[in-house]
Amino acid sequence: MSAAALAFGHWRAASRDPGLRLLAVAVVVAVAALSSVAFFADRVERALQQQGAALMAADLVIEQGAPVPQDWLDKADALALRHARTLTFPSVIVANDRPLLVQVKAVEAPYPLRGRLRVDTPQGEVSQVPASGTAWLEGRLRDRLGAQIGVTDVGLGELQLRAAGVLVDEPDRGGNLFQLAPRLMLAYDDVQRSGLLGPASRVKYRLLLAGEADRLQQMRAWLEDRLPRGSELADLENARPELRTALERARRFLSLAALCASLLAGVAIMLATRRYVDRALDGAAVLRTLGMSAAAVLRWHLVQLLLVVIVATALGSLGGLVGQQALVSVLGDWFGEALPAPGLRPALVGLLFGLSMALGFAVPTLLRVGRVPPLRVLRREMDAPGLAAWTVWVLAAGGFFGLMVWQVQDLRLAGGMALALSAALASMMLAGRLLLLALNPLRRAGGNAALGLAALARYPQLTLLQLAGFGLGITLLLLLAVVRVDIIDTWQGSLPEQAPNHFLINLQPEERAALAELLLTRQIANSGLYAMARARLVAIGDRQVDPEDYTDLRARRLAAREFNLGFSADMQRDNRIQAGNWWEPGEPPRAQFSVEEGLAKSLGIQFGDTLTFDVAGQSVRAPVTSLRSVAWDSFNVNFFVVAPPQMALDLPVTYLTSLYLDEASEGLTLELVQQFPAVSVIDVRPILVQVRAIMERGALAVEMVFVFTLLAAALVSVAAAQVSRDERAREVAIMRTLGASRRRLLGGLLAEFGLLGLIGGLLAAGLASVSGYVIAVELFELPGRVSPDVWWFGIGGGTLVVGLVGWLATRRLLGVPPLQVLNSD
């Protein structure tokens, strides 16, 4: 019988091994934690894609300067794709004898193909395109015109349109909050009769398409050969940056929590394997005397381990499926509609991850089985040489790091974890060695506590292993239990109750003083006035910027559009320098730019590059002296590109600010529009609500994943306590035989575990404080603040919990008749 066949044949014997059982439970927990987050993240990712589609009102959009040819529509029909045409252009309308610049948009049914159009009419909310002869007006347009819905007529070229409803939401309005002119929407057929679509007009024609993915792909391929130059084909566009940032943070929290859980489970796996191997060594020696080769003995155990891990991983994946459903029930309504069904990929990821993690953590220890000397059957003290303890840890940690990078696709997160882990292990080992040194004299003392403490010194390897196990467990638990609360509080605090909910844009320089005074007298909180200019990026270094040069759609759009070039002496609070330096107040004035890192990455801008912008015909040229990250979800005034104020002196600038308006100050909007006719007031409350929801639900989701972490931490504790169970059983039996009282032995055990917990907790508190700070600052770009509670929880909790776990795990030993233990040797 081959070793593999033997392993299969004796699977029941394997299933009776307590070490293997513990290992299996640890694998189940690790895989369940990871795959539930992976399942969920996958569904959210696909939901985001759908949301992205809603932001385009379609799955695929073609935009160009000429009308959409009929054969494109025919092709779309042939492929059973839904389609709708829209067109937009700026124009001046007249109502109540007032002319006003608007952004006209003509749409045909069944616009929108994705997302929802929302229009308030006297008959209630509707979502269809305007009927012929009528128009939907954006709220601020109605205010400006002083129009009455159902009554006022609006003149657009040769057309007279009845204002029939207020446009509340239009899915493909796009991420640009700062679109200056308000929207007027009318029927596609009407606009043909307006007389405004002449050759010189700045009309953008769009064809929106939606349908099955493969049909869309065919359409796309068909179109690509026919698209005239200047046409743009866009599929899923990025969601709004504000939502992106918030969602990205939520995802990081979840990944971090899941990683902590699986890392803990990994430690539990390693400790459980150690126990399994310790017990397996005697059997392995027997197998060797029975004539099995070392390789065959190892193969047997490897196959046995593999069997257990495969079953446990499958169970874990099932657990993940259930877990993600719980996450969905909490978080699902972020997305308004039902999330897409769970895909197969996360199950596969969970399976592979569990398998490689279990093997990575277990195999280095298991190798000992193949090295057991057969003489152990006669001399039990003959041990199997294993890899040095640190090699096992390094191998396991290295394997885990690789898996982390693969799973979370986030080198910084994985790197941070790996670094923290290494530091944690190094300090645990160092502290462990010092502890052993300090305990050595106790071996000659005789008190109850001394008896237990001396036990730690008698088994230095086990003590180090237990300390590392308990210590890591407490660290990760503290990190999530205390630091998590801090980070989430800080995160939610970054968007205070009175976060700006309105933006005021297009304020003229001469109106600045008047506005500032108005805001001051009304006591309206605002973020201060910022100068900005509409600027188009013309060149990076000597290279001319041409949207056609970029394959990435976001980059294409960014290259094609005008930026808001901001001017400011100080950096926004929520910005963080990633490269270079912000200009100092005393610095001699010189032309320079600070660029947002995401934009720089998309457009290929490097630190030190010279950028050339075209601002209303003037060329502005300066080097990039810093790259910044921006917390777009703070709702402060932020710019992709910022320059020092002196650069604005010769440029045509307008001003903007963000402010908080409560219910009582609602009327101010109208007043502002009337006093400053050019100013646009943008209400960002709907987005604010969404971001808040993500924060709140994100925090809740982390709590749920935290349950896995708790479970894993409990497993680690049990596994760590079990590691030395066999040695302890023998010692207890001998001491009982020698007349040691139950109380004395119990005191010793409590002292032993309590001290391990105390030291583990002390180290853990320090490690959790440092890593919590680093995680907040580096990963979540939030101010670092770690509560001193970590120390209390760490030291007090560590001592109590580890003492309790140790007592629970070993108390049964005291009840076992000594002969039973000694005879089983």
Partner: protein, 210 residues
């Protein structure tokens, strides 16, 4: 040794055991009996000297080749039984047969367990058996492959007198049936007397051979 001195556990041992012979190695604790048994069975290697088993010089074989030599041809009985704790009595006995790729391993194992009087305890785990019963399972396992050589290390050392006697009767009964060579380490004079030959070991040296 830690102070740099060399400690000879066994020295000047020259012995031969013929096929089918039963030899007892007798000696006080620490005399090197178990070490000698380990060397003869190829479980360990001498720092000097030569050991042959079944006509093969063990020094020329590596660890795995020595294991292969033992497979199916050498049986062991230990003082501490050495049963695999997760396996039932039947599984423990079938194991050497499975390793030796014998057919009907379980059937043979079952017959052997009946022979040692444990036909009713096939599915019991070692911890559910008494010491004497565990040693009987170990005996059944040792004879499972019809070994040519059987090594027994203090087989009654962990048992009471009554159980010990029964084990010895069983051991010699099985040996008579199989006809294998027996090497028995013991400090029990009476037990040693049942063997064809007795080698007396003291402080690592053979002091008497009868």
């Amino acid at each position: 040794m830690s102070d740099g001195r060399v400690l000879d556990i066994l020295s000047a041992i020259d012995m031969q055991v013929n096929a089918g012979e039963a030899v007892a190695i007798l000696g006080p604790s620490g005399s090197g009996k178990s070490t000698l048994l380990g060397l003869l069975a190829g479980l360990d290697q001498p720092s000097q000297g030569r050991v042959s088993l079944l006509g093969r010089a063990l020094g020329e074989l590596d660890e795995d080749a020595r294991a292969a030599l033992r497979a199916g041809r050498v049986g062991f009985v230990f003082q501490s039984f050495q049963l695999l704790p997760g396996m039932t009595a039947l599984e423990n006995v079938a194991l050497p047969l499975q390793i030796g790729r014998r057919r009907n391993a379980r059937g043979q194992a079952e017959a052997l367990l009946h022979e040692v009087g444990l036909g009713e305890r096939l599915s019991h785990l070692p911890r559910q058996l008494s010491g004497g019963e565990q040693q009987r399972v170990a005996l059944a396992r040792a004879f499972a492959g019809d070994p040519q050589v059987l090594f027994a290390d203090e087989p009654t050392g962990n048992l009471d007198a009554d159980s010990g006697r029964r084990i010895i009767d069983l051991l010699f009964g099985l040996r008579d049936r199989v006809g294998c060579t027996l090497l028995l380490v013991t400090h029990d004079q009476q037990l040693a007397a049942r063997c064809d030959r007795v080698l007396q070991l003291d402080a690592g040296r053979l002091v008497d051979a009868t």
